[in-house]
Amino acid sequence: MASIVSVNSLSVAYRSGGQDVSVVHEVSLEVAKGRTLALVGESGSGKSTIAATLLGHLRHGSRITGGSVQVAGSDVFALPARELRRLRGNTVAMVGQNAGHALTPSMRIGRQIAEAGGTVPVVELLEQVRLPRPAELARRYPHELSGGQQQRVAIAMAIAARPDVLVLDEPTTGLDVVTQRSVLDLIAALRDELGLAAVLVSHDLGVVAHMADEVTVLRSGRVVEAAPTRQLFARPQDPYTRRLLASVPRLDDTGLALVGETGEREVRPRADVPDDAPVAVRAQDVTIDYGKSRTVHGVSFDVRRGEVLALVGESGSGKSTLAWTLAGLRPPSGGTLTHEAGDLAGPAHRRPLSLRRRVQPVFQNADTSLNPRRSVGDAVRRPLRFFGTAADRTEAAERARRLIADVRLDPALADRLPAQLSGGQRQRIGIARALAGEPDVLIADEITTALDVSVQADVLRLLDDLRRERDLACLFISHDLAVVRGIADRVVVLRHGVVVEEGPTEAVFAAPGHPYTRQLMAAALEPDPDAQPYVDDTLDWVDAADEDDLWTDQGDSHRVRRWRPLNAPVAEGVS
């Protein structure tokens, strides 16, 4: 079949300091009608740049240095402005990464969709992307919609003029697993229904395995490997592809996967946490309020020394709120939160110094949580002096270098500014800074979410090493079940601020008892096109917990909040 998209040895460069810096180097690819091609790679691989060239778009300062892009028979970069405008929207349309930023805040969504052209009525388009009450929704502004709804609106906008090619640039990256799954299903259905060719840009190999017919792997602007999806995932040829694939955590890993240089994978058994390990932090019936609304309803858990406890849930489940409270950034409105060395209910600035240094947070965005004007060595040195763990200046400098080495970085990096480090290196500095107070409790809030898979694997490994070496209690917060499976010893599943299931990782993953846990597992995507997805056969359900009978005990401290299928008699109820 003839290709509708064909990119021929395309090179793109931007000018920086009077020199051309190449971002895409002689890349060629073809997409046939009705097929989906995935562009895979880590940050800086040039995948988004290539995708945007299909619409004749280049970032400010970039230019084509060679090759051509042909879409539906016309050379995109040779088209006059008017023709190019007609191509955009009518022939090729794009769905961007973050619909929250891609929709104009001052315009009603109905008008934004209508503007995209085409003859299909707006209401019909909104119905097509499965949005409820489309007529009313069309009159809303973008900020009045949830993230998932915004992404659906962006899709509606893209298919409005019935294009032939859909360019999807990380279409689900900002969404949580359950929403991601439903948006991907929608895209697949529309693609098949409208016979679209699609170019999917993603760093998530699970998404790619689920959606694509062919895959092109990119690294630093060059094609590393291109193959049909099934072949690529089964027999990756290039060592880089192999390493990339091996770095993706799997739902059936029984421990942390360690990845070698050429992509061999070895699963390290979990660390043994002795039964009598002392409890480092105990939360009991903790409630947290934002103004009048309660986001965390009576949550209890223990974290023991040397143990990683994962808090899992969608956005809005209250998991990050709990982390903030534990770090002393938001006082709880009820319940008790205690450390072996004192009470953690107060805000951080009221905690005695000796207690404060023992509970330390690491944040999701290392780039925004480090002061951009201070060297990273300084960032690590300051808490050393502040907590009095280093006696004087020279000792602090020496200890900071050692801590930086402890997080497997070259101590020579100490003089750099955060902007001069990569994302993974910055996150390591974030960890080193937290370790400076010699804590026994580490709060890791989505610390790998913003990182590339191979970097994520390294950071997870570092965290696992550290808790073994330093006997750290770690509260690990994540929405990614596969990551949790590898690193955590125990799991607490949160939904709307309520614990619905908790237990040892193995037990919870082997036999998830609560329908919400099953829903999360079913939504997780494995990097394997033939993966048998976890089937969620639970129908609608309701919470059936009452005051004195909250839990169904499944043994080995694995317990599930009581629930019952909807429309079923109460007596039959409990799963």
Binding site: A52, L55, H57, H60, R85, R86, L87, R88, G89, N90, A93, M94, G96, N98, H101, A102, L103, T104, P105, S106, M107, E115, A116, G117, Y141, H143, E144, L145, S146, A154, M157, A161
Partner: protein, 318 residues
């Protein structure tokens, strides 16, 4: 939305009340006794105390404040110590003349500078941007009285198009003043525009680099539509408050420029009343400046609401 407007209006009124107290206290704190000042150093103590009684200066301060405010609410600001005419009418006459300049200035400065700012932003780092930005910087760094003097040199001395000074008194009609208005208005507009142009340019550049503008372009929309529908509403938001501050600044900027042109406006009245210690007039002018500031900021808040649906739809549920 209504609670937003109500809150802003209430805050504005509160600010006004507070500034009226400050104005009153500041005038009280001026050194020297008013009666002595008016009558001169050689006045007999009897005459001084008689005038004090006449002016009400023997009553406690808070009573005088209440009287003053009550009068001000009805448009009665007392009697001028110099001309012995009601302050309200006198101030209104000068204010009207100044309003003529202010109106023309605002009209030209705001529309002109937004257009220039947007052009500079759209042609970022190309020649139109360089020309506009450099001109703006020059306008910003030269004080308004220098700009005014240069304008006089160019357009009334070298090219005798406009009168250099106004020869009419405050009672002049609009028709008489109109030819004299353009140079002062231009001088003020140049200084004022510089700030607005810079702000508009920066926010247009920010917004044009945003993802939603890129999305709008990739939908195949024309540049005109992308700019007017998608970029401008958001780009004008931060500019709005800069405009409000500048319009409020006019109240002060006008004083200097009016003196250069001998224009019978509020600035001239203010200067002469300060020289003559005409306290009721000074109080009235200070209060009116406060009203202008509050009104400008309230207008900016309401404008922001019109441009930003987040403010309008607050409280509505998802």
């Amino acid at each position: 939305m209504f609670s937003f407007i109500a809150r802003r209006t209430a805050a504005g009124l509160g600010t006004l009340l507070l500034s009226s107290v400050l104005v009153f206290l500041a005038v009280q704190a001026l050194p020297g006794d008013v009666a002595t000042q008016v009558l001169g150093k050689d006045a007999t103590p009897d005459a001084v105390s008689a005038l004090r009684g006449q002016l009400g200066l023997d009553q406690p301060a808070w009573e005088r404040y209440v009287d003053w405010i009550r009068g001000a609410l009805h448009g009665d600001f007392g009697t001028s110590l110099v001309s012995a005419k009601p302050v309200g009418g006198e101030v209104a006459m000068y204010l009207g003349n100044s309003a003529l300049i202010a109106l023309i200035t605002v009209l030209f400065a705001v529309t002109g500078s937004i257009v220039l700012g947007v052009i500079a932003g759209l042609y970022r780092d190309r020649w139109p941007d360089h020309v506009i930005s450099t001109a703006g910087l020059v306008g910003m760094s030269i004080p308004e009285f220098v700009v005014a003097t240069v304008l006089v040199l160019c357009f009334s001395v070298a090219l005798p198009w406009f009168p250099a000074v106004v020869l009419y008194g405050p009672e002049a009609s609009v028709g008489q003043l109109l030819p004299a208005v353009w140079l002062p208005a231009l001088a003020l507009a140049i200084v004022m525009a510089a700030y607005i142009v810079r702000m508009a340019r920066t926010s247009v550049i920010d917004v044009m680099a945003s993802e939603y503008v890129t999305t709008a372009r990739l939908k195949g929309l024309s540049t005109w539509r992308v700019v007017t529908r998608h970029a401008l509403p958001s780009a004008l938001l931060p500019t709005l408050h800069v405009i409000a501050l500048n319009v409020a600044w006019l109240a002060g900027g006008v004083a200097v420029v009016e003196n250069v042109f001998n224009y019978p406006g509020i600035g001239k009245l203010m200067l002469s009343s300060v020289q003559n210690r005409d306290l009721p007039v000074i109080q009235a002018i200070a209060l009116i400046s406060a009203v202008v500031y509050v009104a400008c900021n309230l207008a900016a808040d309401l404008g922001a609401m019109a441009l930003n649906p987040r403010l309008r739809t607050r409280g509505r549920t998802r």
